[in-house]
Symmetry: C2
C-alpha cells in the first residue's frame, strides 16, 4: 500500500507546495500512482494544477469535519496517475471547530486508510505551521520530507520542526521517520549554500548514531535549483512538466523523482 | 514624533525581517533616529544584529505581559542611531496568555507611546500571521509597508492582508494607511516579475479612486534585487552595511531609504 509522505516546514515560502506539485507530477510521469493532499487553507494545489472549482464536490475540509464524507468522494483527477484532495479557505476554521474532539489529530489518517491501496505515493502538502493540520499529516504519514532553502535563518527552524516530529513519534505515530531534506531554490555555487549543506550533513551524520526519528535522514539529491519557470508555471495552472518540461526546474524534479523510485526499489 | 511603520505580510519568507534590519540600518546611516521592534517569536532581529543575549534585560514579551515593564527598560542600542526592542521564544505564549484581556490589541501602542518622541522612525517586524502580535502592530502603527516577492502565489495573499488592515482601520485605528509595497528578492528582468508589478500598479491605480486605507499605496522604488549577500549577512550578525556596503542589496536598501526620507520631507 501507499508510501505516505508529509512535506513539512513551519517556515513559509520554502517550496513545500512547489515540491508537492512537481515531485508529485514527476512521480506520476514515472508511472507511480500518486495522490496529493492539500492541508493548507491557502488552497494552492487547485490554482497550481488549473482545476476548476466547479468540479470539486468535497474538499479536505468536508473530509475532516463531516463524518459522512469519505476520501473517495473528495478525490479529483488532475493528470494521468495524479489525483488530488483539494483544500478551501474554510479549512482555516477546522482547528477551532475540531478543538473539542479527542481524536482530532487522527481524522485524516482514519479517512485516508480505505484508499491507501489505490496509490503508490501520497504527498501531504502542509501549511506553514505546526498546528492541527500539520499534526494530522504527521499522524497519517510514514515519512517526512523537509523542503528548505540553504539559508542561515532556515537552519533555526529545523530543530523546532524535529522536536515536533519527535513528540508525534512518541505519542501517536512510532513509525514516523524524517527521511529527507529537499533543498529548494538552491544556489549551489554560493558560499552560504555550501556551508549550510555542510552543517546539515554534519548534523545528520551525528544523528545517525542516535535513536531519533531523523537518524536515517539525508539531504536528497539533486537540490532543486532556483528557476523562474517554477514560479511562472502556477500562474498558468500548470506543473513544470506542462509548462517547460526541459528547464532546470523540470530536470531537477524529474531526477529527484527517479532517485526516490530507485531508492524505494532497493529497500 | 516618530513615524511608526508595520512591516506586514502573513506569508512567510518574503523579506519582512531582512527589510526591517536593512532599511532600518540605512535610515540610521541617513541620520534618522530609528527603533526596530521584533514582534516575532522567531526572534530573528537579535541574531541578525549580532546582539548578545546577555545584554538583553527585557524583551517585547515582558513589555506586553508585565504591567511594570516600560519600553525604556527594554531598549537595546544596536548601532549608531539604531535601537531595538528584542523578542524571545516565549512570545509565542503571549497570544494565549493575553486572550482574556480586553485591551490586548492595544498594549504595544500604549507602551510605545512614551518613547515616540525619541525617534524619527519606528519599524515593527511582524510574524508571518494575522494574529495578536500583528494586530498589536496594526493598532500601534500609522503606516503599513508590505514586503513581497513578485510571484503569482504572492498576489493571492495580498487581498486577505488588505482586508485585515481594513478591519483594524474601522475598529481601532482610523488613521492606519497601507502606504507601500516593497518588492523583495526581485528579478526585474523576468516576465513574471513585470506582469506581477503591472498587476499591482493597476490594482492601486483603481484603489486611488476609492475610500480605502490603501488608496495612496504605491510600489516603492527601487525594488530590492535578489542578492545572496543579504542572506549571508545574518549568519555573521551583521547588517548589509557592515557586511558588504557596496553590493546590490546595500545599494538598493540605501536608495529605498533615501527615497523615503525625501518623500517624508516633501509631505
Ligand atoms: N526552485 C524555485 N525557483 C524559483 N522559484 C521558486 C522555486 N521553488 C518555489 N518557488 C517560488 O517561491 C514561492 C514559494 O514557494 P512555495 O509556495 O512552494 O512555498 P511553500 O513552502 O509552499 O509556502 P507556504 O509556506 O506559504 O505554503 C512561490 O512563489 C514559488 O513559485
Ligand atoms: N533580496 C534578497 N536576496 C537574497 N536573499 C534574501 C533577500 N531578502 C531576503 N532574503 C533571504 O530570504 C529568507 C527570508 O527572508 P526574511 O527572513 O527576511 O523573510 P520574512 O518575511 O521575515 O520571513 P518570516 O515570515 O519567516 O519572518 C532569508 O533567508 C533571507 O536571508
Ligand atoms: Mg504551500
Ligand atoms: Mg521575519
Amino acid at each position: 500500500s501507499a508510501r505516505t509522505i508529509a512535506l513539512l516546514n513551519q517556515k513559509g515560502g520554502v517550496g513545500k507546495t512547489t515540491t508537492t506539485i512537481n515531485l508529485g507530477a514527476a512521480l506520476a510521469l514515472a508511472e507511480q500512482r500518486v495522490l496529493l493532499v492539500d492541508l493548507d487553507p491557502q488552497a494552492h494545489l487547485m490554482l497550481h494544477l488549473g482545476i476548476d472549482e466547479a468540479v470539486v464536490e468535497h474538499t479536505v475540509y468536508d473530509l475532516l469535519i463531516d463524518p459522512e464524507v469519505k476520501a473517495a468522494d473528495a478525490i479529483v483527477n488532475a493528470r494521468p496517475n495524479l489525483d488530488v484532495l483539494l483544500s478551501e479557505v474554510d479549512l482555516a476554521g477546522a482547528e477551532p471547530e475540531l478543538a473539542q474532539r479527542p481524536d482530532r489529530q487522527q481524522i485524516l489518517k482514519r479517512k485516508i486508510e480505505p484508499i491507501l491501496d489505490r496509490y503508490d505515493v501520497i504527498l501531504l502538502d502542509c501549511p506553514p505551521s505546526l498546528g492541527l493540520m500539520t499534526l494530522n499529516a504527521l499522524a497519517c504519514a510514514r515519512e517526512v520530507f523537509v523542503p528548505m532553502q540553504a539559508h542561515f535563518l532556515a537552519l533555526q527552524g529545523v530543530s523546532k520542526l524535529l522536536e515536533t516530529v519527535g513528540l508525534v513519534c512518541q505519542s501517536v505515530n512510532p513509525d514516523l521517520r524524517v527521511s529527507g531534506i529537499i533543498l529548494c531554490m538552491h544556489e549551489a555555487q554560493t558560499t552560504l549554500a555550501k556551508e549550510i549543506v555542510t552543517d546539515l550533513e554534519d548534523f545528520f551524520e551525528q544523528a545517525s548514531q542516535q535513536d531519533v526519528p531523523w537518524s536515517q535522514c539525508r539531504v536528497l539529491q539533486p537540490p532543486i535549483r532556483r528557476n523562474i519557470k517554477l514560479a511562472e508555471a502556477p500562474s498558468f495552472g500548470e506543473t513544470i512538466f506542462d509548462y517547460s518540461p526541459w528547464c532546470k526546474g523540470a530536470i531537477d524534479y524529474r531526477k529527484l523523482a527517479r532517485q526516490l523510485v530507485e531508492h524505494w526499489h532497493r529497500v
